[in-house]
Amino acid sequence: MRNSIFVNLFLVILFGGCTTVRPPDLSRISGSHRVNTSYDMAITTTSPFRNFNKGLFKAAMRIKNKDLSGLLLIKKMDTLYDSPGIRAVQERTYRIVFANEIGLTFFDLGVSAGGFTVFQCFESLNRKALLNILKTDFRFLLSLYPDDPVSIYFQEGTGRQVIKIGTNHSKVWETRNQRGDTLLVVSGKSTVADAVTIGYRGYRSGVPGAISIENPVIGLQINLRRISE
């Protein structure tokens, strides 16, 4: 039993460590400095969630061959902590509620760049490892990381722009269209276990209509389809 756990852990670390989040076929355009003012403008205008306030999504989540589905609401809050007696933090903060069709809440999370609160979580999902992965997923989904680029690349074959952003705890790659004005993919990881690739499609009013979130190391997949503002 102990050997089996050790082998599984070893395999996760081995394959997790090998999981690459760097998009392929990249040629560097610029080095580790800000490029110019127009690039800074592009950063703020092409990340769809930087000015996002609220959205309702049809959600399907698959984890280890178990399927969960329902509605996922993302709402920007004034502060991460609304509860009395808890220090209010002034930063871009979102509440993310995933509930099944009948209305029962699977999870209710508060996420910001520096904070993470589990307000409610279904017992079978309330695992520290899974919640840490969801924290990374939603931070990357909502662009809750600094917008200072480290390097800019050109992707051979597709002609897309790829921007590498280094944060204190993680590496993030943003893949944009050829003009650089539409975010297509965010990939990144902060640990070996939470490597994630997020695809954005079907933009409406500047917000993606369909989002796919894939965590290959633990086999977690979340698909979102936007159904209202």
Binding site: S69, A99, E101, I102, D108, Q120
Partner: protein, 211 residues
């Protein structure tokens, strides 16, 4: 002028008193239980529209879904959401079929303990049979002018974490369930209100089967 004012106040006060709920005594509770059981026993089929509102107090948001509900004795259920998206949950012969847009999933009810429990609670709420489940719920009975209201406090520790309580309202005229409130941790709740109820009308087996 004063007479009109006091007259209006008196009428409002009277209406408020009539709308108040009072706790029921043992004989009335037994009578309600037996009436609800009789209605459940005599209901072979049930078709109803429903509006489901998930109220999230902290977020100051409501999620509203609407659809159609079909029940056929003993355990066939079709829970069809029409807005804001198309989604059908069907339970027949201990098999669950879910159609999400064009995608159809089938699985054994017994293989999914969470779904099994939720189904038991939902079906028991709608049929009123949860009133007798004193192993998992502690009931408290109230009545107002128009309705009976049964507050069920969840005793099962696992279920209590996600569903601390359920409130079921019964129509006083026919003892049918008009409203189910599922109370969640953090003061959120989901309220399902039934309307246009039709009992014992024929429902073909094809309603519980998606090819």
């Amino acid at each position: 002028m004063n007479k009109i004012f006091f007259g209006v106040v008196f009428i409002l006060l009277l209406q408020s008193l009539q709308a108040q709920t009072v706790r029921m005594e043992a004989p009335a509770i037994e009578s309600l239980r037996s009436r609800v059981k009789k209605v459940a026993d005599n209901t072979r089929t049930l078709i109803s529209d429903f509006i489901q509102v998930k109220e999230m107090k902290m977020l100051k948001e409501n999620l509203v879904s609407k659809g159609k509900f079909y029940f056929k004795k003993e355990k066939s259920l079709r829970w069809e959401y029409l807005t804001p998206y198309s989604y059908i949950i069907m339970i027949h012969d201990d098999r669950i079929t879910i159609r999400d847009e064009e995608k159809v999933n089938r699985f054994d009810l017994k293989s999914n303990k969470v779904f099994l429990e939720i189904n038991r609670v939902i079906l028991g709420s709608i049929r009123g049979t949860l009133l007798y489940d004193e192993v998992n719920f502690k009931p408290t009975f109230y009545q107002s002018r128009d309705a009976y209201r049964v507050e069920l406090q969840t005793l099962n520790p696992k279920l209590r974490e996600s569903l601390p309580g359920i409130i079921i309202s019964f129509d006083k005229s026919d003892y049918s369930v008009t409203r189910v409130e599922m109370m969640e941790a953090g003061n959120d709740r989901t309220v399902i209100t039934f309307s246009n109820k039709k009992t014992n009308q024929p429902i073909g087996d094809e309603k519980f089967d998606i090819r």
